[in-house]
C-alpha cells in the first residue's frame, strides 16, 4: 500500500511538473521571437566586377586590365566567386550612376565592385572604386581612390582588391605584396638556382642573382627592402644581405672555418638570427647588423637550426634534434632553456611564426610523406594542411591567412613549384611561375 501511495504521489508530481512546464511554454517571453543560429554555410561569396569605366581615352588600356586583376585576386583567395560578365543584366555606364540593385540581386551578386580609371597629365594613373553590398542595397564603406604611374597599374589593381577583401572579410590585406624565391633550371642532378622576386601572384618576375652559384633560403626584411639568403659563392654556405633597390649585397659574419645558413630577420630588422656550424656543431646565433656583434643563443651538442622570431620579438622557435629526432622548440629571444612544443610522431622542421603570433607553420615528415601544418604556439591543435611527396619551407602571407611553400614532385623528372594554402586547408592552389621554383619568402605588405 505504501508503494501505491508513493507511486500515486510520484505520478501526481510528474503531472504537476508537466503542467507547469506547459504553462511556462505557453507563457513564454512576450518579447520578440528569439532564435539562435550556430551553423551556416561555407562557400565563396559571389561578386561582380564590371569593367572599370575609362574616364578618358588613355585610360581605356588599363580600365579592363585593372578590373581583371581585382577579380583574379579575389577569386584566387577561394573566398569569392566571380559572376561572369555575360550573366550581367545591367551595365555600369558611369561611376556615379545609381546601382540597379534588383538586377544584381537577380544574378545573386552579393558584392558589386565598380571603378573608374583616368590617366592624367604626366602619365599619372588614377583609379577609384566603390564596393556595394547588393542585398543591403548600400555601399560597403566609402569609395577610395589610388594614384600612381601607369607602370604600376597592377599594383593599383592589387590595392583595390586589398581594400575590397578587407572590407568584406575583415582580414588584413595581402595582395599588394611580393615573394622572393629560388628560380630553378636544368635537370634535377645539376640544377641551377637563382634568386628571383615577383608579385605575390607570380607576375613581374625579376632575377636578383645569376645562376653561377647555388643560392638558398631567401628571407625578406620586415620593411621589404632587404633580403637575406644563403649562397655557396665562396664554396661554403654563407649568409648574404642584399639590398633590393640596388641589388647590392654583402656577406654577414664572414668567419673563416664557419658555415652560416638559415637566416631570419628580427621584427625590428636590426638583428639577424642564423645558424653557424663551428667544429661540426650547429647552434643558433644572433647577429647585430649595426655593430656586427654575434651572440650565441644555444650551446647544445645537437643541431639547432631554422630560428624564427615571434612577432613581438620576445621568443624564438627553432628546430633541434636534441631529443633524437627533429622537433620544434621555443626559447626566449635572448637565449635560455628551450621548451619543446611539437609532440606528434614524425620530424618537424622549418618553423615560422605567424605574423598574427597565434600559429606556427612547419614542415612535417611522417610515414613517407611531407606535410605543411600549423599548430598553436604551445604545440596544441596541430593541423596538417597539405600532404605530398615533398612539401616544405612554409612562409606566411602578410595577413597570416595564407601559407606559400615548395612542392616537389617525385622521380628523376620531378620538379619543384610554389603552392599556397590558406589556414583552413580548403584553398590550395599553385602559384604560377615561369620556371620551377622553390624556397618562397613572402614580403610584408608594400607601402
Amino acid at each position: 500500500m505504501t508503494c501505491l501511495r508513493i507511486l500515486t504521489l510520484v505520478l501526481a508530481l510528474t503531472g504537476l511538473s508537466a503542467l507547469t512546464s506547459s504553462y511556462a511554454l505557453a507563457q513564454e517571453d512576450p518579447g520578440p521571437l528569439r532564435i539562435t543560429i550556430e551553423e551556416g554555410v561555407i562557400e565563396p561569396l559571389p561578386f561582380a566586377v564590371p569593367d572599370f569605366i575609362a574616364e578618358n581615352g588613355a585610360a581605356k588600356e588599363y580600365a579592363t586590365k585593372i578590373a581583371r586583376v581585382v577579380a583574379a585576386d579575389l577569386q584566387g583567395t577561394g573566398l569569392f566567386r566571380e559572376i561572369p560578365k555575360d550573366a550581367f543584366i545591367s551595365a555600369v555606364t558611369s561611376f556615379d550612376s545609381p546601382v540597379q540593385y534588383a538586377d544584381w540581386k537577380a544574378i545573386n551578386a552579393q558584392a558589386l565592385i565598380t571603378g573608374a580609371v583616368s590617366v592624367g597629365s604626366g602619365g599619372r594613373l588614377t583609379v577609384k572604386f566603390r564596393v556595394y553590398d547588393v542585398f543591403s542595397g548600400a555601399p560597403l564603406g566609402k569609395g577610395l581612390q589610388f594614384g600612381g604611374t601607369t607602370g604600376s597599374w597592377r599594383r593599383m589593381g592589387h590595392k583595390v582588391a586589398d581594400a575590397v577583401y578587407s572590407r568584406i572579410t575583415g582580414e588584413g590585406p595581402y595582395f599588394d605584396s611580393r615573394v622572393v624565391f629560388i628560380a630553378e633550371s636544368g635537370p634535377k642532378n645539376a640544377r641551377k638556382k637563382r634568386l628571383a622576386i615577383m608579385d605575390y601572384d607570380g607576375a613581374n618576375v625579376q632575377y636578383l642573382t645569376d645562376d653561377r652559384s647555388l643560392v638558398l633560403a631567401p628571407r625578406f626584411s620586415p620593411t621589404g627592402d632587404r633580403i637575406l639568403y644563403t649562397s655557396y659563392e665562396s664554396g661554403f654556405p654563407k649568409v648574404y644581405l642584399l639590398d633590393v633597390a640596388n641589388v647590392r649585397r654583402r656577406v654577414l659574419d664572414d668567419q673563416p672555418g664557419t658555415m652560416s645558413f638559415a637566416p631570419r630577420f628580427s621584427p625590428n630588422g636590426r638583428t639577424v638570427l642564423l645558424s653557424l656550424s663551428v667544429g661540426g656543431n650547429t647552434d643558433i646565433f644572433s647577429y647585430d647588423l649595426a655593430s656586427g656583434q654575434r651572440k650565441r643563443l644555444t650551446s647544445a651538442p645537437s643541431i639547432e637550426i631554422a630560428p624564427s622570431f615571434s612577432p613581438d620579438g620576445s621568443q624564438i622557435v627553432f628546430t633541434s634534434d636534441r631529443s633524437g629526432t627533429s622537433q620544434l622548440y621555443i626559447m626566449p629571444s635572448g637565449g635560455g632553456e628551450p621548451r619543446r612544443i611539437s609532440g606528434g610522431k614524425g620530424r618537424y622542421n622549418t618553423p615560422v611564426w605567424s605574423p598574427r603570433g597565434d600559429l606556427i607553420a612547419f614542415t612535417k615528415q611522417s610515414k613517407g610523406s611531407f606535410h605543411i601544418g600549423v599548430m598553436r604556439v604551445d604545440g596544441s591543435e596541430e593541423r596538417l594542411l597539405t600532404t605530398s611527396f615533398l612539401d616544405e619551407g612554409p612562409t606566411w602571407s602578410p595577413n597570416g591567412r595564407v601559407i606559400m611553400f615548395t612542392r616537389e614532385t617525385a622521380g628523376a623528372s620531378g620538379s619543384s613549384a610554389l603552392y599556397s594554402v590558406d589556414i583552413t586547408g580548403r584553398v590550395l592552389k599553385r602559384v604560377p611561375t615561369n620556371t620551377p621554383a622553390s624556397d618562397p619568402a613572402w614580403s610584408p605588405l608594400l607601402k
Partner: protein
C-alpha cells in the same frame, strides 16, 4: 486555455494534498482480517425454546439484534468490532465536498453544492452487521398497508400539485436560442406547438484584441468626405497617412510559434549565413541582430540592426554583422514561410549568430 491550466494545476495540487493528508489509502482497511465469532453449544431444548414462535411485539425495537455480541475482554484483533466496520457516523468523504466533476467547471457556473444536512437522506451502505433473525420482523398477521395520504409528513414541503400557470419544462436540447436574443415579443398565443428550435443562432465570435481602439468613423459623413478630412489632417500634421496595417500590440498575442516553425525559420536563415569569407576574428564574434518582418515574411532592410556582439575584436563586429544581414536579406527576399495567423509572434525577431561551430578547428 489559462482557465483550464489553472484548474488542472489546482487539481494536481489537491490530489497531492489528498494523497499526503487525506488518508485515501488509510490503513484502516488493513485491519479487516479474518472475522471470528464465538459460538457456544446449546441443547435441543434450548434451541426449540429459542425458535419457538412468539407474539409480535407491539412496538418493535428499532434495533432487533437481541444477541449483539459482547466485545471480548481481550484486545484480540480477530474479534469483529461492528462499530469499526460501520461507515463513519457522519460520512463526509472528500468526494462529497469537492467532487472532481465539480472542479472541472467554474464554481459560479455549477449547481449549488447541497448542504451537508441533506446527506442524511442518503441511504447508508449495507452494513456488515449480523442480520437479525427473521422471527421478530415478520408478523403472523399481515397488517393493512398504510395509505400514503394518512401519513402526514413531519416536514413542510412545497406544493406538489402541478401549477397550471407554471411553464412546462422544456426538454433539453443541444442548442436553444435564449429568449433575450430575439427582437420580437412572443406571446403565449404565438408560441409554436413544438418547443423544438427551428434554427440555432450563430455563436458569438471572439472579439479581436487590439491595443488601440479602432478609429470611429464619423457617422454623418460619407467616405469621400472622410477621406478628404483624413488627408487634410494628415497633411497638416505632416504625418504619413494611416497605415492599413494592424497597429502593433504592446505584446504579442496569440499562440506562440511551434518548435517546427522556429526550426524552419532557423534553417532558412542559416542556409544563407555564409561564413566562408569571414576572418578568423569575425568567426569568433557572436552578434545579436534584430529584424522586423512585414506580413508577407520579408525582412525590412531598414530594421536590421546589431543589438550586441561578443567574442571578437571591435573591427570584426562589422564583418560579422554584415554577414548576418546578408543572410537575413538573401533568404528573406521572397519572404520567410511563417504562419500568417501568428504574425504578432514573428513580426520582430532577434537572431543570435554564433559561429562557434564554424570556426577553423
Amino acid at each position: 486555455m489559462n482557465t483550464g491550466t489553472y484548474i488542472s494545476g489546482i487539481g494536481h495540487v489537491l490530489l497531492i494534498a489528498w494523497v499526503l493528508f487525506g488518508g485515501l489509502f488509510h490503513r484502516s482497511q488493513d485491519t479487516v482480517s479474518v472475522k471470528a465469532t464465538d459460538v457456544s453449544i446449546i441443547s435441543e431444548e434450548e434451541f426449540a425454546a429459542l425458535t419457538r414462535p412468539q407474539a409480535p411485539p407491539v412496538n418493535p425495537e428499532p434495533i432487533a439484534i437481541p444477541t449483539e455480541p459482547t466485545p471480548p475482554q481481550s484486545e484480540d484483533s480477530a474479534v469483529p468490532e461492528p462499530a469499526t466496520e460501520k461507515p463513519p457516523e457522519s460520512p463526509e468523504p472528500p468526494q462529497a465536498e469537492t467532487p472532481p466533476a465539480g472542479e472541472e467547471n467554474p464554481v459560479v457556473e455549477g449547481p449549488p453544492t447541497p448542504p451537508p444536512t441533506e446527506q442524511v437522506d442518503v441511504p447508508e451502505p449495507p452494513s456488515d452487521t449480523p442480520t437479525p433473525r427473521a422471527a421478530p420482523r415478520i408478523a403472523e398477521t399481515p397488517t393493512e398497508p398504510v395509505p400514503p395520504e394518512t401519513q402526514p409528513s413531519d416536514t413542510v414541503s412545497e406544493e406538489v400539485t402541478p401549477d397550471p400557470t407554471a411553464e412546462t419544462p422544456k426538454p433539453e436540447t443541444d442548442a436553444t436560442a435564449p429568449p433575450e436574443t430575439t427582437t420580437r415579443t412572443v406571446t403565449e398565443a404565438d408560441t409554436p406547438a413544438s418547443s423544438a428550435p427551428i434554427a440555432s443562432i450563430r455563436p458569438v465570435a471572439r472579439p479581436q484584441k487590439s491595443a488601440r481602439p479602432a478609429p470611429q468613423k464619423p457617422p454623418a459623413e460619407d467616405d469621400a468626405t472622410a477621406a478628404a478630412i483624413a488627408a487634410a489632417v494628415s497633411e497638416a500634421n505632416d504625418t504619413p497617412a494611416p497605415q492599413t496595417e494592424t497597429p502593433r500590440p504592446a505584446s504579442p498575442s496569440g499562440p506562440p510559434l511551434s518548435r517546427g516553425e522556429k526550426d524552419a525559420l532557423r534553417v532558412a536563415v542559416s542556409s544563407c549565413w555564409n561564413v566562408g569569407s569571414l576572418s578568423s576574428d569575425a568567426l569568433r564574434t557572436t552578434v545579436v541582430v534584430a529584424v522586423s518582418l512585414s506580413r508577407d515574411g520579408k525582412p525590412k532592410p531598414g530594421s536590421i540592426r546589431m543589438l550586441s556582439s561578443s567574442g571578437g575584436s571591435a573591427g570584426s563586429e562589422k564583418q560579422a554583422f554584415d554577414a548576418a544581414r546578408r543572410a537575413i536579406l538573401r533568404c528573406g527576399a521572397r519572404g520567410y514561410k511563417l504562419p500568417s495567423e501568428k504574425y504578432d509572434r514573428w513580426r520582430d525577431i532577434e537572431i543570435t549568430f554564433n559561429p562557434e561551430k564554424m570556426r577553423i578547428k
